[in-house]
């Protein structure tokens, strides 16, 4: 059964900026979804900011395995309710892949707990992405490095929590470096940030970038059932304790009372 993947695109610059439209006439999300669908073990569909509930109603998210997120121009337009819904699903186990300017998206900042800020420069300079974790699943099939002749520069420090693993580090022509591929786990959900993808360049048409995206979807996919218990903070009454104990001492809570949240 294919990995059910939703590619979320902000879909603003593709409609309002001639340069971007020329590179991604169908929208970046469609280009990315096509790249994912090139392999039959992934089934990708798209959703955009303009769709009702941004294309992410609860029913649809419930059936998803992985969510890919690209946004830039209007992070603030994403409703907080949808952000919380996505966060809850990540904790339950869907994978999340955040692309490029999505570093400032509400959902990424929500899951990281940090500002997720960085330096930037839009000068069409060369980016060379080095694989620092060879044979990591996200780097499968890649050589030691790949190059993007024109990209926006993102520079360190990138204010995210220390990752589980660093997979890619970028070299920029103008002199900066950036941790371009990092992994985290939030609840049962795997999270991957991947740097490349400024909308004025044909980055998502690049074969190696497309390979990384497919690898990342497979890596982020958690085939187990949803971990819904993560939303609970259950009381374990004395009579249900794994070992027999007798209750003693002063108490705050009446029997059966819920805890404070």
């Amino acid at each position: 059964m294919a990995i059910e993947t939703i590619v979320w695109g902000e879909n603003i610059h593709e409609r309002t900026n001639d340069t971007v439209r020329a590179v991604y006439p169908d929208g970046m999300h469609e280009t990315i979804a096509r790249a994912l669908n090139a392999d039959t073990d992934i089934h990708a569909t798209t959703a955009t900011l303009q769709d009702p509930e941004h294309g992410l109603p609860a029913g649809r998210l419930d059936g998803a395995d992985v969510l890919v997120w690209w946004g830039h121009k209007d992070h603030g337009a994403v409703s907080d309710a949808v952000v919380e819904r996505v966060a809850a699903r990540v904790w339950e186990g869907i994978g999340l892949i955040v692309l490029h300017s999505g570093h400032f998206s509400k959902i990424f900042k929500r899951l990281m707990g940090t500002p997720c800020a960085l330096k930037w420069r839009e000068a069409g300079e060369r980016e060379r992405v080095w694989v620092v974790n060879p044979r990591h699943p996200i780097a499968a099939g890649l050589g030691e490095r790949f190059e993007l002749e024109q990209e926006e520069m993102y520079g360190e420090p990138f204010s995210v929590p220390e990752p589980l693993e660093t997979v890619f580090i970028s070299w920029f022509q103008g002199g900066e470096v950036f941790r371009s591929g990092m992994t985290w786990r939030r609840g049962a959900g795997n999270v991957f940030y991947f740097r490349p993808g400024h909308e004025t360049y044909p980055t998502y048409h690049d074969a190696t970038v497309q390979q990384v995206l497919r690898n990342a979807v497979r890596w982020a996919h958690n085939p187990q059932d949803a971990y819904e218990a993560i939303h609970e903070g259950p009381n374990v009454p004395v009579e249900s304790a794994p070992e027999p104990i007798r209750e003693r001492g002063p108490k705050l809570h009446a029997p059966g009372e819920a805890g404070y949240r």
Copy 2:
């Protein structure tokens, strides 16, 4: 110069519950602050939920090095503005020590990006805290373990991100285990969670617990100046690039334009 520490206490049960008042007649925050002030390299004062701005106005936070947080009954009463203010200061470098039921505080969940849920049982059972990271600064002066004859049980799974280091793991009489001491870094701020401290038991009167609190304050203290740049996402114009480059290719941003957030 002493480490300027604010002990924040919710200060509800100490005033409304006879059992708790009997254990902490001056409030838990005062007991904790006294324990910290026992060593001259720490200078601890207190703040409570009931104070204006919960005792955490910007001016006071600016002068603080470490914030200790205990809350339980009414996490929701803490204003979102104060939570964001504290988060910003942690990113800039103040240390944060979250105690016991503070696992469900807004500030801890904000910085972790996860539900921070756990199991619990209030049965006055024995807790044995094991040092799994001997000679970690937070365990300085401790033996291989210490015991609290009566405590509330907290059980795994505890839905927090994988920590930088695990310092303590607790054994409970009723059969559960818990990672009772864990560290994270968020921006320039050190964060430590310490499990013991249910308000109906005299936990913060325990000499070993007090030692852990003092150790934690010292560990969390970052003596460097505030890292205010973490709030920025600066553009680096072509003429300021570390290496000389020429701008090329299509552009989205006009010169000097701020990035999208």
Copy 3:
């Protein structure tokens, strides 16, 4: 294609101790291999200390995907050459699962870089293994905990490096705790330590333990080709630099000279 797995057993107590022979008449390695072969995506064979080259000649290791290691009585009898051979293959990408008393095996200590010491007690006490990382691949299909009515106690501190992720923590009847499932990556190889399995108890006949073993083999398996370049420390001559540069300044090495090791 099935995951080619070698189950390595020390195979001493099964032949010399009546108690152990009664529990594992064919040897522990055979019991473990049968448990792995219960699923068709794993193909497990066995090797023992007594085999030539301990059953791990280079040719056989070259064809293996995962190695499971159980040893106890005579770690010192494993030849250093075989240990180095296995380490090299782990760095190239085969998975390694170290069981119970294998914590003191040469290969585990070699890969951890620490003493890997712990406390122990052989008293047939109850062990309760808690899943602290729900929906981790190694915990797939498990409930929140499982119990082994009689096991040897292993107690913290366990002197291993901080893991990538902690999956299991054990509670022992006698009052200790232990991080019973931890993961690391060494080169391209995934490493998992799993605590249960004292030879006088029927632990490897337990259905849940067998499920963990199968999960661990799948998790440890890296399907990519061997990362042989990890053994090199290549010079990149000036004319092969990704960016054109001119050599300058004083030099130590003659052109084409190998680096010092």
Copy 4:
């Protein structure tokens, strides 16, 4: 009381190569020790490969807090006994700072459990070291980056275990990147690797590099007493169990018998 620091230098090229002697007429170890002694809270002395027991007899190591290691030409000449002695002391809590070509030293490979290999090029190119973890103690007082106009290139992948924290990442003129500052903990000992320092360039005369070295010594210093228990794997007899239990079931070990190692 000052941090007792031993700066270990291989001391070969300084005596045999005119270029290196011109840069470090007293040896690199003396230059480094002087830089450390510039602050009064550090007391640095030196040791070299040519000294009896390489200048690291047990008595001297016992009194040390931090060991700084630079070697290149003849790692193999360091005796295995001294390597094991140093490893044991690191596990007990002394800090270890490994510099530049020390990545291939026996002691570093011993503690990492991996090949510690990398790419290299000796072309006198520009290195720009970026601080990716601002306000980390090792980066105290530094700006966002510093430059070394001529250095040897080290390129990724660097085959070390995922660090606790990445502090520095280098950009090289020829197009490579490198994680130039990483931390690990091994037992009670803090370990830091710092990349710069090829012997034909005046790197250790650089004021910023010297600041990093002093910061690193302070960070690596663990002021607690030696954790000698790490060398033990103690039996906890039934009568010493923290909780009262009765021994039951089959046994392998006679009472009081030591465990197998």
